[in-house]
């Protein structure tokens, strides 16, 4: 049985690289990504699992990093917004102005890109179900929804 008793140096797989960080057992993944690894694209929002601004991928599956302990994902591949570069979803968000202040955008993009990869032919119900995980306080949902539909129609 693995035991994490106190703060210790660990290795993590983030955005295709092996990163080293000193992590306490009670530290969230969000905290480690932002403060220990400097990956501030992952946003600190509600810290209650409600807003989705802190969404990252755990082995390709979107999870909320504010509710995830860093020591719990040492055996997983983590992807943050810094790990996505010029994806079809990012291009679609630019084309459709799928953002206003931009704070929620990393979470939305990670969720939308995961949706498109898991369900390339997603119907409206599936899109709605996935997008419910993220909140935009600027209420710019129309542009976001247009961007997701564009992404699903244009996978390249």
């Amino acid at each position: 049985m693995k035991r994490y008793l106190r703060e210790e140096r660990v290795e993590m797989r983030v955005n295709g690289e092996t990163r080293s960080a000193v992590v306490a057992p009670g530290e969230t993944l969000l905290h480690v990504l932002r403060r220990r690894l400097g990956l501030t694209g992952t946003k600190l929002g509600c810290e209650n699992g409600d807003c989705g601004a802190c969404t990252v991928w755990r082995d390709g599956v979107p999870v909320k990093s504010c509710c995830t302990l860093a020591v719990d994902v040492l055996d997983a591949a983590i992807t943050t917004i810094e790990g996505l570069c010029d994806t079809p979803t990012q291009r679609a968000f630019i084309a459709e102005n799928g953002f206003q202040c931009g704070f929620c955008t990393p979470g939305f993009i990670l969720n939308a890109e995961a949706l498109a990869r898991a369900h390339p032919d997603a119907d409206e119900d599936t899109v709605r179900e996935w997008l419910e995980s993220n909140i935009c306080r600027c209420t710019g949902y129309e542009g976001i929804e247009r961007a997701v539909r564009r992404r699903l129609k244009n996978p390249e």
Binding site: K2, D50, T55, P62
Partner: protein, 281 residues
């Protein structure tokens, strides 16, 4: 960030997890089993009530989902306590469990939240308990004495009745849980929200069964209410629903999300709708 001095363990077997629980609890520490972790991590920011977390989601038997096949030599469907709700929502083997799982939190959260975590939640809804109550499932619990199976209706009285250190391994559902049944969920906010009423309903052997969350402060299945439904079989669905709800002794929940009267009316609507659908089918 939760308490900086918390200890985190990753158990690889049921025995290891249960033994570790007692090892730490005997030294006076507050020990909790940990799976999806969403409720524990968010809760621990406000309450310093945990010293040791024993992560159980790497224990193979705890991660099984129905559709992985019935257990050999039994005619049951086993659901592991560490099965993620998004996996349960996507499986088709137990449709009412899929529907219940789909109602909890949001899609991304369900990628972390587990079946056992939902059953043990401090929140009053615990919607995945509904199909267990409805189909008379058996909960499989582990302790230092080994495994024991307890009928869900016996083990789930308002909340799970666990002995100190007992671990929920999973639930055995009978093959009849493959029935489609009827489910409905009503919320105040059409997006992600806690339920005012969640109904889980099936017709088994000509008798209608139903279980409810949200309307009361905990999941409820009332045999008395089901008997009333059966006795009034010739009446209209709405009248039968009213008789059945009147037979439930528990007090309807009343809070800022919905008054007791509003929750009662929603319950009557979905129950009458369910009766019509099941009987038409």
């Amino acid at each position: 960030m939760i308490a900086s001095d918390v200890v985190y363990l990753q158990a690889e077997s049921v025995d290891e997890a249960v033994t570790a629980w007692h090892e730490y609890a005997e030294s006076g520490r507050a020990v909790r089993y940990f799976s999806g972790g969403t409720e524990i991590v968010t809760g621990a920011r406000h309450r310093d009530d945990v010293d040791v977390l024993i992560d159980v989601k790497r224990i193979p038997e705890l991660t099984r989902v129905p559709g992985g096949g019935a257990r050999p030599l039994t005619d049951t469907l086993f659901v592991g306590a560490a099965a993620r709700l998004s996996d349960l929502a996507d499986q088709e083997a137990v449709p009412l469990l899929a529907a219940a799982a789909r109602g909890v939190a949001d899609r991304t959260a369900r990628n972390s939240i587990t079946f056992g975590g939902n059953l043990c939640s401090v929140l009053p809804y615990r919607e995945t308990a509904l199909p267990l109550l409805l189909f008379d499932a058996t909960l499989v619990l582990a302790s230092l004495d080994g495994l024991r199976g307890v009928p869900a209706r016996e083990c789930f009285r308002r909340r799970l009745q666990l002995r100190p250190g007992e671990l929920v391994v999973g639930a055995d559902l009978p093959a009849v849980a493959r029935e489609t049944g009827y489910s409905a969920r009503r919320t105040r906010d059409p997006r992600v929200d806690y339920p005012l009423v969640t109904l889980c309903m099936a017709c088994l052997g000509g008798s209608v069964r139903f279980a409810v969350a949200g309307a009361y402060g905990y999941p409820v299945r009332s045999l008395e209410a089901e008997q009333v439904l059966a006795a009034a079989a010739r009446e209209e669905p709405r009248a039968r629903a009213e008789r059945a709800v009147a037979a439930i002794e528990d007090r309807l929940w009343d809070d800022f999300r919905g008054s007791a009267a509003y929750r009662r009316e929603l319950l009557l609507l979905v129950l009458a709708e369910g009766l019509s659908r099941l009987e038409d089918a």
